[in-house]
Protein backbone atom coordinates (compact mmCIF):
# COMPACT_ATOMS: atom_id res chain seq x y z
CA UNK A 1 0.00 0.00 0.00
CA UNK A 2 2.79 2.43 0.84
CA UNK A 3 4.57 1.60 -2.37
CA UNK A 4 1.58 2.07 -4.56
CA UNK A 5 2.91 5.30 -5.89
CA UNK A 6 6.60 5.83 -6.11
CA UNK A 7 8.14 9.08 -5.03
CA UNK A 8 6.64 11.98 -6.92
CA UNK A 9 9.24 14.47 -5.74
CA UNK A 10 9.51 17.17 -8.34
CA UNK A 11 12.46 19.16 -7.08
CA UNK A 12 14.60 20.70 -9.76
CA UNK A 13 16.76 18.02 -11.24
CA UNK A 14 14.60 15.07 -10.23
CA UNK A 15 13.50 14.54 -13.78
CA UNK A 16 12.58 10.88 -13.50
CA UNK A 17 10.05 11.71 -10.82
CA UNK A 18 8.68 14.52 -12.95
CA UNK A 19 8.27 12.29 -15.96
CA UNK A 20 6.26 9.95 -13.77
CA UNK A 21 4.23 12.87 -12.49
CA UNK A 22 3.43 14.06 -15.98
CA UNK A 23 1.61 10.78 -16.54
CA UNK A 24 -0.67 11.55 -13.63
CA UNK A 25 -2.45 14.74 -14.64
CA UNK A 26 -4.68 14.91 -11.56
CA UNK A 27 -1.62 14.82 -9.33
CA UNK A 28 0.24 17.31 -11.47
CA UNK A 29 -2.67 19.69 -11.09
CA UNK A 30 -2.47 19.63 -7.32
CA UNK A 31 1.29 19.82 -7.09
CA UNK A 32 1.54 22.76 -9.43
CA UNK A 33 3.39 20.85 -12.09
CA UNK A 34 1.65 21.03 -15.42
CA UNK A 35 2.03 18.06 -17.69
CA UNK A 36 5.39 18.43 -19.34
CA UNK A 37 7.62 16.30 -21.47
CA UNK A 38 10.69 18.48 -21.56
CA UNK A 39 13.49 17.95 -19.07
CA UNK A 40 13.75 21.49 -17.75
CA UNK A 41 11.49 23.13 -15.22
CA UNK A 42 10.55 26.11 -17.32
CA UNK A 43 6.87 25.61 -16.54
CA UNK A 44 7.63 26.03 -12.85
CA UNK A 45 9.92 28.99 -13.25
CA UNK A 46 7.10 31.54 -13.27
CA UNK A 47 6.07 30.62 -9.72
CA UNK A 48 9.68 30.18 -8.71
CA UNK A 49 10.48 33.70 -9.89
CA UNK A 50 7.34 35.12 -8.30
CA UNK A 51 8.14 33.61 -4.90
CA UNK A 52 11.72 34.90 -5.14
CA UNK A 53 10.44 38.38 -6.02
CA UNK A 54 7.99 38.24 -3.11
CA UNK A 55 10.74 37.38 -0.69
CA UNK A 56 12.98 40.15 -2.03
CA UNK A 57 10.36 42.88 -1.89
CA UNK A 58 8.89 41.81 1.46
CA UNK A 59 12.43 41.79 2.90
CA UNK A 60 13.20 45.24 1.45
CA UNK A 61 10.01 46.55 3.02
CA UNK A 62 11.00 45.11 6.36
CA UNK A 63 7.88 42.91 6.60
CA UNK A 64 9.86 39.70 7.02
CA UNK A 65 13.14 38.56 8.52
CA UNK A 66 14.69 36.21 5.91
CA UNK A 67 16.40 34.25 8.68
CA UNK A 68 12.95 33.52 10.12
CA UNK A 69 11.96 31.88 6.83
CA UNK A 70 14.88 29.46 7.00
CA UNK A 71 13.99 28.51 10.56
CA UNK A 72 10.34 27.97 9.63
CA UNK A 73 11.29 25.68 6.76
CA UNK A 74 13.80 23.75 8.82
CA UNK A 75 11.30 23.32 11.64
CA UNK A 76 8.71 21.63 9.43
CA UNK A 77 11.30 19.65 7.47
CA UNK A 78 13.24 18.26 10.41
CA UNK A 79 11.54 18.90 13.77
CA UNK A 80 7.75 18.82 13.53
CA UNK A 81 6.31 15.82 11.71
CA UNK A 82 4.30 12.62 12.10
CA UNK A 83 6.92 10.95 14.31
CA UNK A 84 5.60 13.26 17.04
CA UNK A 85 2.11 11.85 16.69
CA UNK A 86 3.52 8.32 16.50
CA UNK A 87 5.08 8.82 19.94
CA UNK A 88 1.71 9.97 21.29
CA UNK A 89 0.01 6.87 19.90
CA UNK A 90 2.70 4.49 21.15
CA UNK A 91 2.45 5.97 24.63
CA UNK A 92 -1.33 5.50 24.55
CA UNK A 93 -0.83 1.86 23.54
CA UNK A 94 1.49 1.05 26.44
CA UNK A 95 0.14 3.31 29.19
CA UNK A 96 -3.57 3.02 29.94
CA UNK A 97 -3.56 6.05 32.25
CA UNK A 98 -2.04 8.15 29.46
CA UNK A 99 -4.58 6.75 26.99
CA UNK A 100 -7.43 7.78 29.27
CA UNK A 101 -5.93 11.25 29.75
CA UNK A 102 -5.43 11.60 25.99
CA UNK A 103 -9.06 10.79 25.27
CA UNK A 104 -10.32 13.14 27.98
CA UNK A 105 -7.91 16.06 27.56
CA UNK A 106 -5.80 15.63 24.44
CA UNK A 107 -4.25 19.09 24.71
CA UNK A 108 -2.74 18.41 28.11
CA UNK A 109 -1.71 14.82 27.39
CA UNK A 110 -0.02 15.76 24.09
CA UNK A 111 1.63 18.82 25.64
CA UNK A 112 3.14 16.53 28.31
CA UNK A 113 5.22 14.97 25.51
CA UNK A 114 6.31 18.43 24.34
CA UNK A 115 4.03 18.93 21.34
CA UNK A 116 2.04 22.16 21.33
CA UNK A 117 1.25 25.17 19.22
CA UNK A 118 0.33 26.37 15.78
CA UNK A 119 -2.55 24.46 14.16
CA UNK A 120 -2.83 22.19 17.19
CA UNK A 121 -4.11 24.59 19.80
CA UNK A 122 -7.29 22.60 20.45
CA UNK A 123 -6.62 18.89 20.09
CA UNK A 124 -9.06 15.99 20.28
CA UNK A 125 -7.95 12.34 20.12
CA UNK A 126 -10.21 9.80 18.42
CA UNK A 127 -9.81 6.15 19.29
CA UNK A 128 -10.41 3.47 16.69
CA UNK A 129 -12.10 0.34 18.01
CA UNK A 130 -13.17 -2.98 16.58
CA UNK A 131 -16.54 -1.49 15.67
CA UNK A 132 -15.59 2.10 14.76
CA UNK A 133 -13.00 3.59 12.40
CA UNK A 134 -12.31 7.33 12.47
CA UNK A 135 -11.20 9.40 9.48
CA UNK A 136 -10.30 13.10 9.51
CA UNK A 137 -10.75 15.58 6.65
CA UNK A 138 -11.01 19.31 6.08
CA UNK A 139 -13.45 19.76 3.21
CA UNK A 140 -13.14 23.56 3.28
CA UNK A 141 -9.35 23.97 3.20
CA UNK A 142 -6.51 21.96 4.75
CA UNK A 143 -6.90 22.06 8.55
CA UNK A 144 -4.51 19.50 10.03
CA UNK A 145 -2.84 18.96 13.43
CA UNK A 146 0.62 20.37 12.67
CA UNK A 147 2.33 19.85 16.07
CA UNK A 148 1.73 16.09 15.94
CA UNK A 149 1.62 15.37 12.19
CA UNK A 150 3.60 18.21 10.61
CA UNK A 151 2.55 19.60 7.24
CA UNK A 152 -0.34 17.86 5.48
CA UNK A 153 0.42 15.60 2.52
CA UNK A 154 -0.66 16.80 -0.92
CA UNK A 155 -3.58 14.37 -1.14
CA UNK A 156 -5.03 15.69 2.13
CA UNK A 157 -5.26 19.19 0.61
CA UNK A 158 -6.47 18.02 -2.79
CA UNK A 159 -9.97 17.94 -4.23
CA UNK A 160 -10.38 14.13 -4.53
CA UNK A 161 -9.89 13.55 -0.80
CA UNK A 162 -11.79 16.62 0.37
CA UNK A 163 -14.72 15.82 -1.91
CA UNK A 164 -15.00 12.08 -1.26
CA UNK A 165 -14.01 11.51 2.36
CA UNK A 166 -17.37 12.68 3.70
CA UNK A 167 -19.46 10.74 1.17
CA UNK A 168 -17.50 7.67 0.15
CA UNK A 169 -14.89 7.02 2.86
CA UNK A 170 -14.68 3.33 1.97
CA UNK A 171 -13.83 4.31 -1.59
CA UNK A 172 -11.09 6.57 -0.24
CA UNK A 173 -9.79 3.77 1.96
CA UNK A 174 -9.68 1.53 -1.12
CA UNK A 175 -7.44 4.12 -2.83
CA UNK A 176 -5.07 3.57 0.10
CA UNK A 177 -5.36 -0.20 -0.22
CA UNK A 178 -7.37 -0.51 2.99
CA UNK A 179 -10.52 -2.61 3.36
CA UNK A 180 -12.47 -2.71 6.60
CA UNK A 181 -15.20 -5.19 7.59
CA UNK A 182 -18.70 -4.21 6.41
CA UNK A 183 -19.81 -4.10 10.03
CA UNK A 184 -17.34 -1.35 10.98
CA UNK A 185 -18.92 2.06 11.45
CA UNK A 186 -17.01 4.76 9.58
CA UNK A 187 -16.93 7.99 11.53
CA UNK A 188 -15.70 10.98 9.49
CA UNK A 189 -14.67 14.21 11.22
CA UNK A 190 -14.74 17.34 9.04
CA UNK A 191 -12.39 19.89 10.71
CA UNK A 192 -14.45 22.98 10.00
CA UNK A 193 -13.25 25.07 12.97
CA UNK A 194 -9.99 25.29 14.97
CA UNK A 195 -10.35 21.91 16.69
CA UNK A 196 -7.73 19.47 15.36
CA UNK A 197 -8.18 15.72 15.41
CA UNK A 198 -5.66 12.89 15.89
CA UNK A 199 -6.75 9.33 15.23
CA UNK A 200 -5.44 6.71 17.66
CA UNK A 201 -5.29 3.55 15.53
CA UNK A 202 -5.73 0.09 17.01
CA UNK A 203 -2.58 -1.58 18.26
CA UNK A 204 -1.63 -4.37 15.86
CA UNK A 205 -1.79 -7.91 17.22
CA UNK A 206 1.40 -9.72 18.13
CA UNK A 207 3.19 -6.60 19.39
CA UNK A 208 3.21 -7.40 23.10
CA UNK A 209 6.98 -7.76 23.24
CA UNK A 210 7.78 -4.51 21.47
CA UNK A 211 9.13 -1.46 23.27
CA UNK A 212 7.39 1.90 23.09
CA UNK A 213 9.93 3.14 20.50
CA UNK A 214 9.45 0.01 18.41
CA UNK A 215 5.69 0.47 18.60
CA UNK A 216 6.03 4.09 17.46
CA UNK A 217 7.81 2.86 14.33
CA UNK A 218 4.63 0.95 13.40
CA UNK A 219 2.47 4.08 13.54
CA UNK A 220 2.16 5.56 10.06
CA UNK A 221 1.06 9.11 9.32
CA UNK A 222 -1.94 7.84 7.38
CA UNK A 223 -3.06 5.69 10.32
CA UNK A 224 -3.30 8.87 12.41
CA UNK A 225 -5.48 10.56 9.76
CA UNK A 226 -7.62 7.47 9.36
CA UNK A 227 -6.74 6.63 5.76
CA UNK A 228 -4.38 3.84 6.75
CA UNK A 229 -3.63 1.24 9.37
CA UNK A 230 -0.45 0.82 11.43
CA UNK A 231 2.20 -1.52 10.10
CA UNK A 232 1.95 -5.06 11.38
CA UNK A 233 4.63 -6.56 13.60
CA UNK A 234 5.94 -8.44 10.57
CA UNK A 235 6.29 -5.23 8.51
CA UNK A 236 8.59 -3.66 11.08
CA UNK A 237 11.98 -2.93 9.57
Amino acid sequence: MRDRLESTACHAGVTAACRRESRIPELAKYTGAMPHDHPEHSDLSELDLRVRALQTVLTQKGYIDPAALDILIDTYQTKIGPRNGARVVARAWVDSAFRKWLLQDANAAIASLGYTGRQGEHMVALENTESRHNMVVCTLCSCYPWPVLGLPPTWYKSAPYRARAVKDPRGVLADFGVTLPESTEIRVWDSTAEVRYLVIPRRPPGTDVLTEDELASLVTRDSMIGTGLPKSAAERV
Binding site: T8, L54, K61, L72, T75, T139, L140, I186
Partner: protein, 220 residues
Protein backbone atom coordinates in the same frame (compact mmCIF):
# COMPACT_ATOMS: atom_id res chain seq x y z
CA UNK B 1 -22.98 41.43 -2.33
CA UNK B 2 -22.67 37.84 -3.40
CA UNK B 3 -19.95 35.72 -1.91
CA UNK B 4 -18.94 32.40 -3.37
CA UNK B 5 -16.41 29.99 -1.91
CA UNK B 6 -14.61 27.84 -4.45
CA UNK B 7 -13.14 25.73 -1.65
CA UNK B 8 -16.31 24.02 -0.41
CA UNK B 9 -15.69 20.60 -1.96
CA UNK B 10 -17.38 18.12 0.40
CA UNK B 11 -19.53 15.62 -1.48
CA UNK B 12 -18.61 16.81 -4.98
CA UNK B 13 -18.14 14.11 -7.59
CA UNK B 14 -15.80 13.90 -10.54
CA UNK B 15 -12.50 14.71 -8.83
CA UNK B 16 -11.08 11.24 -9.33
CA UNK B 17 -9.21 8.97 -7.00
CA UNK B 18 -6.98 9.94 -4.10
CA UNK B 19 -3.28 9.52 -4.79
CA UNK B 20 -1.38 8.39 -1.69
CA UNK B 21 2.04 9.79 -0.98
CA UNK B 22 5.02 8.56 1.07
CA UNK B 23 5.42 10.07 4.49
CA UNK B 24 8.59 12.08 3.93
CA UNK B 25 7.36 13.98 0.90
CA UNK B 26 6.44 17.49 1.92
CA UNK B 27 7.15 19.56 -1.16
CA UNK B 28 7.02 19.01 -4.90
CA UNK B 29 8.74 22.10 -6.25
CA UNK B 30 11.69 24.10 -5.04
CA UNK B 31 9.59 27.23 -4.43
CA UNK B 32 7.04 25.52 -2.17
CA UNK B 33 8.99 25.63 1.13
CA UNK B 34 9.47 29.38 0.61
CA UNK B 35 5.78 29.80 -0.19
CA UNK B 36 4.91 28.10 3.09
CA UNK B 37 7.40 30.16 5.10
CA UNK B 38 6.40 33.48 3.51
CA UNK B 39 2.73 32.77 4.24
CA UNK B 40 3.37 31.80 7.86
CA UNK B 41 5.75 34.72 8.45
CA UNK B 42 3.35 37.27 6.94
CA UNK B 43 0.45 35.74 8.89
CA UNK B 44 2.46 36.36 12.06
CA UNK B 45 2.65 40.09 11.35
CA UNK B 46 -0.99 40.53 12.34
CA UNK B 47 -1.80 42.44 9.13
CA UNK B 48 -4.69 39.98 8.77
CA UNK B 49 -6.04 36.97 10.64
CA UNK B 50 -6.28 33.31 9.60
CA UNK B 51 -9.97 33.59 8.71
CA UNK B 52 -9.24 36.52 6.40
CA UNK B 53 -6.53 34.48 4.70
CA UNK B 54 -8.88 31.50 4.23
CA UNK B 55 -11.46 33.87 2.77
CA UNK B 56 -8.88 35.41 0.42
CA UNK B 57 -7.93 31.97 -0.90
CA UNK B 58 -11.38 30.44 -1.25
CA UNK B 59 -12.61 33.40 -3.33
CA UNK B 60 -9.78 33.25 -5.86
CA UNK B 61 -11.57 32.77 -9.21
CA UNK B 62 -8.92 30.30 -10.41
CA UNK B 63 -9.00 28.28 -7.15
CA UNK B 64 -9.65 24.97 -8.85
CA UNK B 65 -6.72 25.24 -11.24
CA UNK B 66 -4.09 26.15 -8.65
CA UNK B 67 -1.88 23.80 -6.68
CA UNK B 68 -2.14 24.25 -2.93
CA UNK B 69 0.99 26.34 -2.38
CA UNK B 70 0.21 28.34 -5.52
CA UNK B 71 -3.11 29.14 -3.84
CA UNK B 72 -1.23 30.31 -0.79
CA UNK B 73 0.98 32.59 -2.90
CA UNK B 74 -1.98 34.07 -4.80
CA UNK B 75 -3.85 34.50 -1.53
CA UNK B 76 -0.83 36.19 0.03
CA UNK B 77 -0.49 38.63 -2.88
CA UNK B 78 -4.20 39.41 -2.67
CA UNK B 79 -4.05 40.10 1.08
CA UNK B 80 -1.00 42.33 0.62
CA UNK B 81 -2.52 44.22 -2.31
CA UNK B 82 -5.87 44.78 -0.56
CA UNK B 83 -4.04 46.47 2.32
CA UNK B 84 -1.76 48.55 0.12
CA UNK B 85 1.27 46.69 1.45
CA UNK B 86 2.56 45.49 -1.92
CA UNK B 87 1.71 46.28 -5.55
CA UNK B 88 1.89 43.86 -8.46
CA UNK B 89 4.26 46.29 -10.17
CA UNK B 90 6.75 45.83 -7.36
CA UNK B 91 6.75 42.09 -7.89
CA UNK B 92 7.20 42.59 -11.61
CA UNK B 93 10.10 44.94 -10.92
CA UNK B 94 11.53 42.58 -8.31
CA UNK B 95 12.18 45.48 -5.94
CA UNK B 96 10.40 47.87 -3.61
CA UNK B 97 8.88 50.86 -5.42
CA UNK B 98 6.63 52.26 -2.67
CA UNK B 99 7.57 52.98 0.95
CA UNK B 100 6.59 50.16 3.32
CA UNK B 101 3.24 50.15 5.10
CA UNK B 102 2.86 49.83 8.85
CA UNK B 103 2.56 46.33 10.35
CA UNK B 104 1.58 45.45 13.92
CA UNK B 105 4.76 43.34 14.25
CA UNK B 106 7.43 41.43 12.35
CA UNK B 107 8.38 37.81 13.08
CA UNK B 108 12.09 37.78 13.95
CA UNK B 109 14.17 34.63 13.61
CA UNK B 110 14.54 34.35 17.38
CA UNK B 111 10.77 34.50 17.82
CA UNK B 112 9.89 31.65 15.43
CA UNK B 113 10.19 28.73 17.86
CA UNK B 114 8.26 30.39 20.72
CA UNK B 115 5.61 31.70 18.30
CA UNK B 116 5.03 28.26 16.78
CA UNK B 117 4.96 26.58 20.20
CA UNK B 118 2.40 29.09 21.45
CA UNK B 119 0.17 29.11 18.38
CA UNK B 120 -2.97 31.21 18.34
CA UNK B 121 -5.63 29.61 20.55
CA UNK B 122 -9.18 30.59 19.60
CA UNK B 123 -10.94 29.56 22.81
CA UNK B 124 -12.35 32.45 24.87
CA UNK B 125 -13.95 32.76 28.31
CA UNK B 126 -17.71 32.11 28.07
CA UNK B 127 -20.03 34.99 28.86
CA UNK B 128 -23.21 33.10 27.97
CA UNK B 129 -24.63 29.68 28.73
CA UNK B 130 -24.44 27.13 25.92
CA UNK B 131 -27.76 26.91 24.13
CA UNK B 132 -27.40 23.20 23.37
CA UNK B 133 -26.39 20.14 25.35
CA UNK B 134 -24.79 16.88 24.21
CA UNK B 135 -27.50 14.72 22.67
CA UNK B 136 -29.69 17.62 21.52
CA UNK B 137 -31.11 17.41 18.03
CA UNK B 138 -30.24 20.47 15.94
CA UNK B 139 -30.82 21.72 12.42
CA UNK B 140 -28.14 23.65 10.53
CA UNK B 141 -28.75 26.94 8.78
CA UNK B 142 -30.06 26.65 5.23
CA UNK B 143 -29.08 28.89 2.36
CA UNK B 144 -26.16 31.05 1.33
CA UNK B 145 -24.66 33.88 3.31
CA UNK B 146 -22.87 36.84 1.76
CA UNK B 147 -19.57 36.30 3.58
CA UNK B 148 -16.96 33.72 4.59
CA UNK B 149 -18.51 30.91 6.60
CA UNK B 150 -17.42 27.48 7.84
CA UNK B 151 -20.70 25.65 7.39
CA UNK B 152 -20.12 23.37 4.39
CA UNK B 153 -22.90 23.23 1.79
CA UNK B 154 -23.32 19.48 2.16
CA UNK B 155 -24.20 19.98 5.84
CA UNK B 156 -26.47 22.96 5.28
CA UNK B 157 -30.14 22.57 6.28
CA UNK B 158 -29.49 19.15 7.84
CA UNK B 159 -30.53 17.63 11.14
CA UNK B 160 -27.88 16.21 13.43
CA UNK B 161 -27.03 15.62 17.04
CA UNK B 162 -24.74 17.57 19.36
CA UNK B 163 -21.88 15.21 20.15
CA UNK B 164 -19.28 17.42 21.82
CA UNK B 165 -19.09 20.94 23.23
CA UNK B 166 -15.73 22.64 22.67
CA UNK B 167 -16.26 25.83 24.66
CA UNK B 168 -16.49 29.33 23.21
CA UNK B 169 -14.33 30.13 20.17
CA UNK B 170 -13.55 33.08 17.90
CA UNK B 171 -16.35 33.16 15.29
CA UNK B 172 -14.77 32.66 11.86
CA UNK B 173 -17.65 34.39 10.04
CA UNK B 174 -17.21 37.78 11.74
CA UNK B 175 -13.45 37.46 12.20
CA UNK B 176 -12.99 37.02 8.45
CA UNK B 177 -14.98 40.16 7.73
CA UNK B 178 -13.01 42.34 10.12
CA UNK B 179 -15.99 42.50 12.48
CA UNK B 180 -14.10 41.19 15.48
CA UNK B 181 -13.91 37.88 17.30
CA UNK B 182 -17.53 37.78 18.55
CA UNK B 183 -16.82 34.41 20.25
CA UNK B 184 -19.56 31.77 20.07
CA UNK B 185 -20.14 28.30 21.51
CA UNK B 186 -18.66 25.64 19.27
CA UNK B 187 -20.09 22.13 18.93
CA UNK B 188 -19.33 18.92 17.10
CA UNK B 189 -22.57 18.05 15.30
CA UNK B 190 -22.87 14.49 13.97
CA UNK B 191 -25.09 13.53 11.04
CA UNK B 192 -26.19 10.13 9.84
CA UNK B 193 -24.90 9.48 6.33
CA UNK B 194 -28.47 9.11 5.08
CA UNK B 195 -29.38 12.60 6.30
CA UNK B 196 -26.58 14.06 4.17
CA UNK B 197 -26.64 11.85 1.09
CA UNK B 198 -30.03 10.11 1.10
CA UNK B 199 -30.14 6.67 -0.43
CA UNK B 200 -26.67 7.19 -1.93
CA UNK B 201 -25.17 7.01 1.54
CA UNK B 202 -23.15 3.93 2.43
CA UNK B 203 -24.42 2.04 5.47
CA UNK B 204 -22.78 2.74 8.80
CA UNK B 205 -21.55 6.23 7.92
CA UNK B 206 -21.58 9.11 10.40
CA UNK B 207 -20.07 12.49 9.50
CA UNK B 208 -19.52 15.41 11.83
CA UNK B 209 -18.71 19.08 11.42
CA UNK B 210 -17.66 21.62 14.01
CA UNK B 211 -20.36 24.28 14.08
CA UNK B 212 -20.62 27.59 15.90
CA UNK B 213 -23.91 28.21 17.69
CA UNK B 214 -25.27 30.75 15.14
CA UNK B 215 -25.26 27.96 12.52
CA UNK B 216 -27.73 25.92 14.60
CA UNK B 217 -31.40 25.90 15.54
CA UNK B 218 -33.20 23.36 17.72
CA UNK B 219 -34.71 20.60 15.59
CA UNK B 220 -38.30 19.71 16.20
Amino acid sequence: MTYHSNADLGGQSGHGRVIPEPEGELFHASWEPKALALTVAMGATGAWNIDMSRSARETLPNYESLSYYALWIEGLQKLLAERGLLREAELAAGRMLDPPGALPRVLKATEVAPALAKGAPTERTPTTVARFAVGDSVRTRLGNVSHHTRLPRYASGKTGRIERIHGVHVFADTHAQGLGEQPQWLYTVAFEGRELWGNESPAGLTVSIDAWEPYLEPAR
